[in-house]
């Protein structure tokens, strides 16, 4: 645990110092990957640790982004809007979660698809969000150095939070819920309460990422922040990386962030990302359900076994 803390601190220092020696293009890539790390790790708290799969996380990105832009246009400092967007997103997650988490089965997952699409349609249809043409941040609110640092710090904090939750009784309750919700209840775990709590926490973190996205991009529209494809990649990153682990979503986000950058810069591959995502999902399901992290552990296990002599059985 201590070595991990040192590692996280070193990574943070290095990333924060990066603007001194890296080009703007590379920093942009790091920013993109940090954004993906936050989304994947935050989703994994609910989807991986607690096993409650949501396919509607773009709703929380959108709520965060719109809250920040609207309040900034009303004269707020962009960063003063962050607590508000986290709070609104968490409140919205409770409205979605309370009725559906009481039910067993896939009701929650189904509800999340409908709700996120409904939010997108509303955002595109009403006047104060600028409709489908979107909204622009007020002039003079842009400062890449600052926005880069904010995204990187948030990414490291979210991963640290995930590691802390995993080791805590709270994380244990979530794992118990994922594996056998009735057995968890039979040992005193208030499953609905913990599901609602972790959903709210995860939604708040995703909304913060949405706010930082809006501040850096300066322009948002329903099709950029409420995109269903965004919801899908949020689900795929942790699954491909390793569901329910701390490092898995980070690995998945690194891979997807890198792929996205490569694909978008190549006109020939631009529209093939769905094909690629689908292919990766099938490969993971068929060959390594525990994702890249599971693959790494398996390979490492093989290597150490073949290099170490058999240990006499102590049992």
């Amino acid at each position: 645990m201590k070595t991990r803390g040192v590692f996280a601190a070193a990574a943070l220092v290095l990333l924060l110092a990066a603007p001194r020696f890296l080009e703007r293009g590379t920093l942009n890539d790091i920013w993109n990957v940090a954004f993906a790390v936050i989304l994947a790790s935050a989703w994994n708290l609910l989807g991986g640790f607690a096993g409650q799969v949501s396919i509607g996380y773009s709703a929380f990105i959108g709520i965060g982004a719109y809250t920040t832009v609207l309040l900034s246009l009303a004269g707020w400092h962009p960063y003063a809007t962050l607590p508000v967007s986290a709070f609104l997103s968490a409140a919205f997650s409770v409205i979605v979660g309370l009725p559906t988490f009481r039910l067993r089965g896939p009701y929650f997952t189904i509800a999340t698809i409908g709700v996120s699409e409904a939010v997108r349609v509303v955002a595109a249809g009403v006047a104060f969000t600028g409709g489908s043409s979107g909204l622009r941040m007020p002039a003079g609110s842009f400062d890449f150095q600052r926005d880069y640092s904010a995204m990187v710090v948030l990414a490291v904090l979210v991963v640290a939070l995930a590691a802390w939750i995993q080791a805590s009784p709270f994380g244990q309750a979530l794992r118990a819920i994922r594996q056998d919700i009735d057995a968890a209840e039979a040992l005193g775990v208030h499953s609905t309460k913990y599901k609602v709590l972790v959903h709210a926490l995860s939604a708040a973190l995703v909304a913060l990422a949405g706010s930082l996205f809006a501040i850096n991009f300066q322009y948002i529209s329903p099709n950029s922040v409420f995109d269903f494809r965004l919801s899908l990649s949020i689900v795929l990153m942790p699954i491909v990386g390793g569901l329910g682990t701390v490092a898995g979503p980070v690995l998945g986000a690194l891979l997807f962030g890198y792929l996205q950058i490569k694909l978008l810069s190549s006109p020939a591959l631009r529209d093939s990302y769905l094909f690629l995502y689908g292919g990766m999902l099938i490969a993971v399901m068929l060959f390594e359900p525990r994702g890249l992290l599971g693959l790494y552990r398996r390979v490492r296990g093989r290597i150490t076994r073949s290099f170490s002599r058999p240990v006499p059985d102590a049992g």
Binding site: P169, Q172, A173, R175, A176, Q179, D180, D182, A183, A184, E185, A186, L187, G188, V189, H190, S191
Partner: protein, 244 residues
């Protein structure tokens, strides 16, 4: 309900579609008792336990635990009050170690222990249930006998006043059954009231202070073990009418 009763059940009814699983069961359990529940397959024994702890809602009837009515409370709230059950078909968290499985009970049961205190309690219970050597092993790799003990260990870790054991001897060999009987007695010695459903009539007669017999959701006998097993209705329920 007698004055020393820790658990009282009155007119408990549970209906599933087209089936009356419990048709008005009434009994009470005294503090510190070992109270056996027997009956043929489909008699409603497991449904009774499910209704007691709130994992299933009864259609009508009253359940009083330490004087408080609990029949409408959810499962986790009843565990928090100190009434816990184990499952006949074991339900371990397979991807957790044995120690982690038990600590879920310590963290979220009535005791709600944290940190070193939880660790101590879990250690004591692993010792008591003979799972120390398996503590760091994934629960999915245990044998059926170990899984049955894990069910008991997790339930004990919640810090119950009343522990409902659902067929913890099913699938055990004779020497394991003797160990299980010892364990159940020692649980009672530690101040916990025990209800137990059991198919091994010899075992249940051997450890119980009193026995309740169910058949088709109805109580057909209740009393001292030796009286109950000689009861004509009990004999006919188990062996058929001709045997009487």
């Amino acid at each position: 309900m007698p004055a020393d009763a820790i658990l009282g059940v009155e007119g408990l009814i549970k209906r599933y579609e087209g089936l009356l699983a419990l048709s008005g069961v009434t009994f009470s359990v005294a503090r510190g008792e070992i109270f056996g529940v027997i009956g043929p397959n489909g008699a409603g024994k497991t449904t009774l336990f499910s209704c007691l702890v709130g994992s299933v809602q009864p259609n009508s009837g009253i359940v009083r635990f330490r004087g408080e009515r609990i029949e409408r409370l959810p499962n986790h709230a009843i565990v928090a009050r100190g009434l816990v059950r184990t499952h006949q078909i074991v339900r371990p968290f397979r991807d957790m170690t044995v120690r982690e499985n038990v600590s879920v009970g310590a963290h979220f049961g009535r005791a709600r222990l944290r940190g070193a205190e939880a660790g101590r309690r879990v250690g004591e219970i692993l010792e008591k249930t003979g799972l120390v050597r398996k503590a760091e092993v994934l629960a999915g790799t245990l044998t059926i006998g170990e899984l049955k003990r894990l069910e008991i260990a997790r339930a004990l870790a919640t810090g119950p006043e009343v522990l409902c054991l659902d067929e913890v001897m099913g699938g055990l060999n004779p020497s394991e059954i003797v160990d299980a009987m010892k364990l159940i007695r020692s649980i009672r010695e530690s101040g916990v009231t025990v209800l137990m459903i059991e198919h091994h009539v010899h075992a249940v007669v051997g450890v119980s202070d009193r026995i309740l017999v169910l058949n088709f959701g109805l109580k057909i006998a209740e009393g001292k073990p030796m009286e109950v097993v000689r009861h004509p209705e009990v004999i006919s329920a188990y062996l058929g009418e001709e045997a009487v």
